[in-house]
Amino acid sequence: MSGPSGTWQHAPGFWEGDRPRIVTSRFAHADSHTLERFLATDGYAGLRRALAMPAAEVHGEVRTATVLGRGGAGFPAGTKWGLAPEGVWPKYMVVNGDESEPGTYKDRLLMERDPHQLIEGCLIACYAAGLSQCFLYVRGEMALAQERIATALNEAYAAGYVGRNILGSRFSLDIVLHWGAGAYVVGEETALIESLEGNRGMPRLKPPYFPAAIGLYGQPTIVNNVETLANLPWIMRNGASAYTAIGTATSPGTRMVAVSGHVARPGVYEIVNGTTTFRDLIYGDEFCRGIRDGNTLKAFVPGGGSAPWFTPDQLDLPFEASRVGPAGSMLGSGAVMVMDHTTDIPRAALTLTRFYAHESCGKCTPCREGGTWLERILSRVVDGRGTMEDLDQLMEVGQSICPGDFPHASSSDLGLAAVPFPYKMTTICFVGPSAFVPVHSALTLFRSEFEERVSRRTRIPVRAVAP
C-alpha cells in the first residue's frame, strides 16, 4: 500500500505505447480531474461543436459512430436514444455510475480522473436526445468519485458549462449528482431507476418497463454507462468517421478493460475494440506481460463475473461480441479475471456465486432461493463436506434458474464443443443466472477438481480469532 487513500494508483506502464486514447487521454496528467487541465486539453470543445448543430444532427453523428454501450449489454447508444417515444415529455437521462460487476474497474477511473469529460458527455447526450434533466448516479462506496464529480460540477456550473443557457446557448440542463448506498443489483438499469425514485433497488420487468419508454417517474428515460458517455466529447471533436476508423465495423472505437488476477502487470487498459485479442491483452508487452511468476494460464473470465469462463483455447478471440458470443461467453463490462494453474477452481467459483447470492435483490424466487442454495452446496463441496450427488444437484438447481442448454466454451482437452451465449432464464434480471455461471463453467471445464475435493473430503481449516 502506498500513497494517500483514494489516490489513483496504477502500474506505471499504463500509458505506455501509442495506442489510440479516446477516453483516457488525460490520465497521464496528475491534475487530469481539474477544469484547468480539462480546458487546456480540448475540454468542452465537443460540446461547443454539438451546440452549434441541431440536436438531430448530433444524434445522427453518434448513431453513425455506433458507440456500443459499455455497461454490459453492448447496445449502441445512438440507437437507444432513438427508442424514446416522440411527443412524450419530459425525458430523463440517468447515468449509470454504479460500477460493481466483479472484475470491473473503469467507470470509477473515468469519474475520479476525468469528471469533466463525463459531464461533457452527459451534456452532449441530453442535447442530442432532447432530455430535460440528468441524474448522475454514482456508486455509494465511491467517496472520491463523488467528491471529484461534485467539485467538477460546481466548477462547471460556475463557469457556465452546466445549468441555464449553457455556453450562452438556448440549451439549459441540470445535472444532479446522486449516489447509492451499496447494492450491486442497482446497476441494472430498471433497478437503478427504482433506486433513484427512493425505492428498494429491485429490477422491473422488461417488458413493459423498457426505460426508454417507461423509466424514471414513468417517463422515457435513457440509461447510459459512464464510459459510453465519456466517448462522446471525442466523437464530437473528431467526428464519427474518425471513431469508426478505429476498431472494426461492428465494434468501433476503443474500450477500457481491467485485467486482474494472476497476471504479471494487472491494470486497466484502453484497447482497440474488435481487433485486440485476449492473448494480446494477457501476454502483450504493453499490457499485462503474461502470467505472474512464470506460471501457466488455467482459465479466465472474459467479461466480468457474469461471463462464462474461457480457457487458453479461447485466447485468440478478439474483443468482438459476434465472436465471443458463439464461443460461449460475453464481453460484458470489460473485465478480464485471470486464473493461473495454482488456482483452487471450486473456491474461485464459490467466491463469485457467493457474490451473486449475496447481491440478489430477493424479488424473484429462482434467484433469491436458488442463488443461496447454490452457494450452500458449493461451500459444502469446497469445505470437503460435499458428495458426488451435490455436484449433480448444483446443475439441477441451475436448471431451475436457467432451463435448457447453458452456454460454455469449447475445450480441446475435454473434447467439448461450445454452447453459444445467451442462456434462457426464469428470472427477471441476470443476477440469478450469474450465480449459476461460475458453477456451471467450473463444473463443466474442471469437474475433476470438484470430484477430487469430494472424494478426498479435504477440510480446509478455519483459523481461530486471536484472543
Binding site: A183, R200, L205, P207, P208, A357, H358, E359, S360, C361, G362, K363, C364, T365, P366, R368, E369, G370, G371, T372, W373, R376, I377, Q393, E396, V397, Q399, S400, P403, G404, K424, M425, T426, T427, I428
Partner: protein, 787 residues
C-alpha cells in the same frame, strides 16, 4: 350489470368487445381482450396456470415466477411470465410443455426450500395455494437438506394480524395491497436477497382498516388473523355466499361456520362492488353474533325492571299498545335489517295508519337525496368528475373509498372535494376546497365561478358523492350544495353516502318519512308526549341521534317503547318490551346497497335463544291486530313484494345465481322539499365543530367484537397545531369544550388536517360524549378552554 328501473323494463347490458383478439392456448383458440395478461385469458378459458404473486385486482409484479409459460416467438418458444405478458392477436401459448413443467416444479421446489412445512399447525392448511400447487405442480420431494431460514415465530404486526416470516414466500401480495390498494404503506419488504422479509417499521403497527384483506390474499399461512387463529380447520368449514351488512356498500362475502358458529367472513369478488375486498370492521364484526351479551328471550318491563317473558306474552303486550296507539305509533329504524324485514314493517305501519317512520336517526341526509338522479359505484369510478360533498369515505364506506382511490390513482376520474377537514382522498383530489361547516353552498357557488372547474364539469359525466359529513350541523347545507351541483353539471347524478347497510332498502320499501315527518320531528313529538308507541326497529337513538338530549327526552316522553334488537342497547334498556332479533348471518334475505343494488344475505347459523327475524315479528303482530298478510315463509314475503314493491320482487327472484345482484331504483314515497337552516353568524374566538364518524366507534357490533373493541380511538377533540398553541393547551391533556351553558371535558389532540378555527371530534366514542353539546342547529360553535 343488470339494472331494473322499478316499474319500467330491464335494460339489457351491451356486451360486445371491440378489443377482442384471439390467441391459442394449448392448441385451443380462445377469445381475449387486448391488453389483458395471458394468465387472465387462460383463466377464462379454463386453462389454469399456477401462480402466487398474481392477483387479478392488483398490479402485476411478475416476481414469483411460478406462472411461466412458453410463447412462440420468432426464435422459437420463449419463456415468459403469463401474469405480465399481454395477449396479442395470433399468439401461441403453451402451458404444458416439459420445459414449462420443469420450470413450475423447479419453482415450487425453490419456494419450499426455506418453507417450514408446518402445515399441520398452520391455519392455512387445507386451503393453501402453496400446499395445493406443491401437490399439483410440484416435484413431489425436496432435495433441500440445508438449514432453513429462521425467524421468530408469529409476531403480532397489529391488533388483528400475525406475521410468520418463515412461512412467507415473498409474493408481495400483502405489501402491494397495503401500498397500492389501501394506501397504508405500513408493511414493507425489508432487508435484501435471501433475507428479504415483510416487516412494519419498529413500533408502528400495521394499523390499516383493510388489514384483513392481506390475510385473505396471502397464498400461504404467513399472515393470520387473530379471530380465526386455531378456530377451525378449513375442511371443517361450511360456507354460504352473503352480503356484508356493516355499511351500505354491501360488499359480497362468504360466511363460514363450524359447528353452527360463524368463524370467518371472507370477501367475494363482485365486479361492480367490492372487487373481493372488505374492511376490517365488516370482516371481523361477525364476532358480535357470537357475543354472550345477545338478548336471547323477550323482555317485558314489570315493576320498573325488564323481566324475561314468553314470546306470546311479549307480543301480546306490544299488540295491545299498538292497537291503542294506532296512528300515533312511530317506527324508527329498519336500516339494519333485510329488505324483507323493512317491507313487512312498512306494511304493518300502513295497516296501523302510522305515518311517523324513519329508517334513519337524523344522522344522514334526508330521504329526498334518493329522489335525485342516481349513480352506481361503477358510474362514479368511471365518471369524468367525482364531486365529494361527503364525509371521509375511508371512515364511513371504506370499500367505496378503495374503489374511488383506485380510479383516482389510475387517473380515470378527477376528484373535486368540498370538505371541512382533510380526508383520506384529499391527497388524490384534483381540487380540494376547505369550507367551514355550514358554508357548503357558498363553497360550491364559488367553485362554480372557476372556469377550469366548469370546463372539467363539462368534459363528461359528473357523479356527486353526497353524505352527512358533520353530525353537528344541519343536513340541509349539504343538500343545497348538491342541488347546485346537479344544476350546474349536465347529466350529473348522485351516489348517496348512507351509513347503515340497508338505509336505501328500508327507505324505499316503506320506512321513509311521510310529509317531512322524519326522525327529528318524531323525536320532538315523542319528547313532548305526542307519541303513544315508539318502535325501535334495531335502532338505538340514545347512541346514534346526534342531539343526545333530544334522544333522551324522546325516550322518556314516549308512552310505550318497543325495542326489537339483538342486544340490550342503551335505548333497549329504556324500552318497555324488548324482542330478541336475529341478525345478519342468522337470516336469509336481501339487502339494498347505497347504489340500489339488491343482493342476497344468507343464514349460516341458527339464531341464539328464541331470536326471530324482524319480518316474522311484523307478520305476527299484524295477524294479532287482525291484518292477515298471509305470509308464513320468506317465499311468501317475496311473493308479496312482487306486487307490493315493484323491482324488488323481481330482483329477489333473480338473485340466486347473480353474485353481483340487481340494481333497483325507486325514489321513496312522497319526497319533501329541503329547507335550508342558516348556519348562523360565528364568533371568531370559537371553533366550528365537525362531528364526524370514525370506522371504529361504540356501535354495538363493534363493541361486542373482541378483535375490534379496542380499536375505537376514543372521545377527543382535534385542532390545528397553531390553534392548540393559541388556546395554550397541551396535546393529550383534557380541555373543556363549551357551547352555551353546556360543556364536556375531552382530551385534545393536534392535527394539521383540521384547518384553523375548526375543531374535529369523533362521533359515538367511548369516553365523554360530545353529543351533549349538539342541539340540531344549523352549525355548532364551541369554545375550548384549558381547565
Amino acid at each position: 350489470m343488470t339494472t331494473v328501473d322499478a316499474g319500467s323494463e330491464a335494460i339489457p347490458a351491451p356486451e360486445s368487445d371491440p378489443n377482442a383478439v384471439s390467441v391459442t392456448i394449448n392448441g385451443r383458440t380462445v377469445e381475449a381482450h387486448k391488453g389483458e395478461w395471458i394468465i387472465a385469458a387462460a383463466d377464462r378459458a379454463g386453462e389454469y396456470i399456477p401462480r402466487f404473486c398474481y392477483h387479478p385486482r392488483m398490479n402485476s409484479v411478475g416476481m414469483c415466477r411460478q406462472c411461466l409459460v412458453e410463447v412462440e416467438g420468432p426464435r422459437g418458444p420463449m419463456m415468459v411470465v403469463s401474469c405480465m405478458t399481454p395477449v396479442a392477436e395470433g399468439q401461441v401459448v403453451r402451458t404444458d410443455t416439459p420445459q414449462v413443467k420443469r420450470a413450475q416444479e423447479g419453482m415450487i421446489e425453490l419456494l419450499l426450500a426455506n418453507h417450514p412445512l408446518d402445515c399441520p399447525v398452520c391455519d392455512k392448511g387445507g386451503e393453501c395455494p402453496l400446499q395445493d400447487q406443491a401437490f399439483s405442480h410440484g416435484p413431489g420431494e425436496s432435495r433441500f437438506v440445508e438449514e432453513k431460514r429462521h425467524y421468530e415465530k408469529p409476531i403480532p404486526i397489529s391488533e388483528i394480524v400475525y406475521l410468520d416470516r418463515e412461512r412467507c414466500i415473498l409474493c408481495d401480495r400483502c405489501t402491494r395491497f397495503a401500498d397500492d390498494v389501501a394506501g397504508d404503506a405500513l408493511i414493507q419488504f425489508t432487508q435484501r436477497g435471501n433475507n428479504t422479509q415483510v416487516m412494519t417499521f419498529p413500533d408502528e403497527p400495521f394499523a390499516s382498516y383493510f388489514s384483513g384483506n392481506t390475510v385473505q390474499i396471502c397464498p400461504v399461512g404467513a399472515l393470520t388473523a387473530k379471530p380465526f387463529r386455531f378456530k377451525a380447520r378449513p375442511w371443517d368449514l361450511e360456507q354460504r355466499e352473503s352480503t356484508c351488512t356493516t355499511c351500505s356498500v354491501g360488499c359480497r362475502t362468504v360466511v363460514q361456520s363450524s359447528r353452527d358458529e360463524i368463524v370467518r367472513v371472507q370477501g367475494v369478488d363482485s365486479d361492480p362492488v367490492n372487487w373481493g375486498w372488505l374492511c376490517d370492521r365488516g370482516r371481523f364484526d361477525f364476532q358480535s353474533v357470537n357475543s354472550g351479551d345477545r338478548v336471547l328471550v323477550p323482555l317485558v318491563r314489570r315493576d320498573g325492571a325488564l323481566a324475561t317473558a314468553t314470546w306470546a306474552d311479549a307480543l301480546d303486550e306490544v299488540a295491545t299498545h299498538l292497537r291503542g296507539a294506532g296512528a300515533s305509533t312511530a317506527i324508527l329504524g329498519g336500516a339494519r335489517g333485510t329488505n324483507e324485514d323493512a317491507f313487512m314493517w312498512g306494511r304493518l305501519a300502513d295497516a296501523l295508519g302510522c305515518t311517523m317512520r324513519d329508517a334513519q336517526l337524523d344522522d344522514g341526509l334526508p330521504a329526498e337525496v334518493l329522489a335525485m338522479p342516481q349513480a352506481t359505484i361503477d358510474e362514479a369510478c368511471s365518471a369524468a368528475t367525482v364531486v365529494l360533498v361527503a364525509p371521509d369515505l375511508k371512515e364511513e364506506l371504506p370499500v367505496l373509498h378503495l374503489r374511488l382511490r383506485d380510479a383516482a390513482m389510475k387517473k380515470r376520474i378527477r376528484i373535486i372535494e368540498i370538505s371541512a377537514v382533510e380526508t383520506a382522498l384529499t391527497a388524490l383530489a384534483w381540487r380540494s376546497v376547505r369550507c367551514e361547516p355550514g358554508t357548503q353552498p357558498e363553497a360550491v357557488a364559488e367553485l362554480l365561478t372557476d372556469a377550469a372547474v366548469m370546463t372539467q364539469l363539462a368534459s363528461g359525466s359528473t357523479v356527486v358523492v353526497a353524505g352527512r359529513a358533520n353530525l353537528a350541523e344541519s343536513a340541509s347545507h349539504t343538500m343545497s350544495a348538491v342541488e347546485s351541483l346537479l344544476a350546474a353539471a349536465p347529466a350529473a347524478s348522485v351516489l348517496p353516502v348512507l351509513r347503515r347497510a340497508n338505509v336505501r332498502g328500508a327507505l324505499s320499501l316503506g320506512l321513509a318519512p311521510r310529509d317531512g315527518r322524519d326522525a327529528a320531528t318524531i323525536l320532538h313529538d315523542a319528547a313532548e308526549g305526542r307519541i303513544e308507541c315508539l318502535v325501535l326497529l334495531g335502532s338505538d337513538p340514545l347512541s346514534d341521534v346526534p342531539d343526545a338530549d333530544l334522544a333522551r327526552r324522546a325516550l322518556a316522553g314516549a308512552r310505550f317503547v318497543v325495542s326489537i334488537d339483538a342486544f340490550l342497547s342503551p335505548s333497549a334498556a329504556h324500552a318497555d318490551v324488548v324482542l330478541p332479533a336475529a341478525v345478519a348471518g342468522e337470516k336469509d334475505g336481501t339487502t339494498t346497497n347505497l347504489e340500489g343494488r339488491v343482493t342476497g344475505t344468507a343464514q349460516k347459523v341458527t339464531a341464539p335463544g328464541t331470536a326471530r327475524t324482524d319480518w316474522m315479528i311484523a307478520a305476527e303482530l299484524a295477524e294479532m291486530l287482525g291484518h292477515d298478510f298471509g305470509v308464513a315463509t320468506l317465499v311468501d314475503v317475496r311473493r308479496a313484494m312482487e306486487s307490493g314493491a315493484p323491482g324488488w320482487g323481481e330482483a329477489t327472484s333473480r338473485l340466486a345465481n347473480d353474485v353481483d345482484g340487481v340494481v333497483v331504483r325507486r325514489a321513496p314515497a312522497a319526497a319533501h322539499p329541503v329547507r335550508r337552516t342558516a348556519p348562523g353568524a360565528r364568533n371568531s374566538h370559537e371553533f366550528r365543530l365537525v362531528l364526524a364518524r370514525k370506522l371504529y366507534d361504540s356501535a354495538i357490533a363493534t363493541r361486542t367484537s373482541p378483535a375490534l373493541a379496542s380499536l375505537a380511538p376514543g372521545a377527543g377533540i382535534a385542532v390545528h397545531p397553531l390553534d392548540l398553541e393559541r388556546i395554550g393547551a397541551v396535546a393529550g391533556e383534557p380541555v373543556r369544550v363549551v357551547a352555551g351553558e353546556r360543556a364536556v371535558v375531552l382530551p385534545v389532540s393536534v392535527s394539521a388536517r383540521v384547518p384553523r378555527g375548526t375543531a374535529l371530534s369523533p362521533f359515538n366514542q367511548p369516553g365523554a360524549d360530545i353529543r351533549e353539546l349538539v342541539r340540531g342547529t344549523g352549525a355548532l360553535d364551541v369554545s375550548i378552554e384549558v381547565p
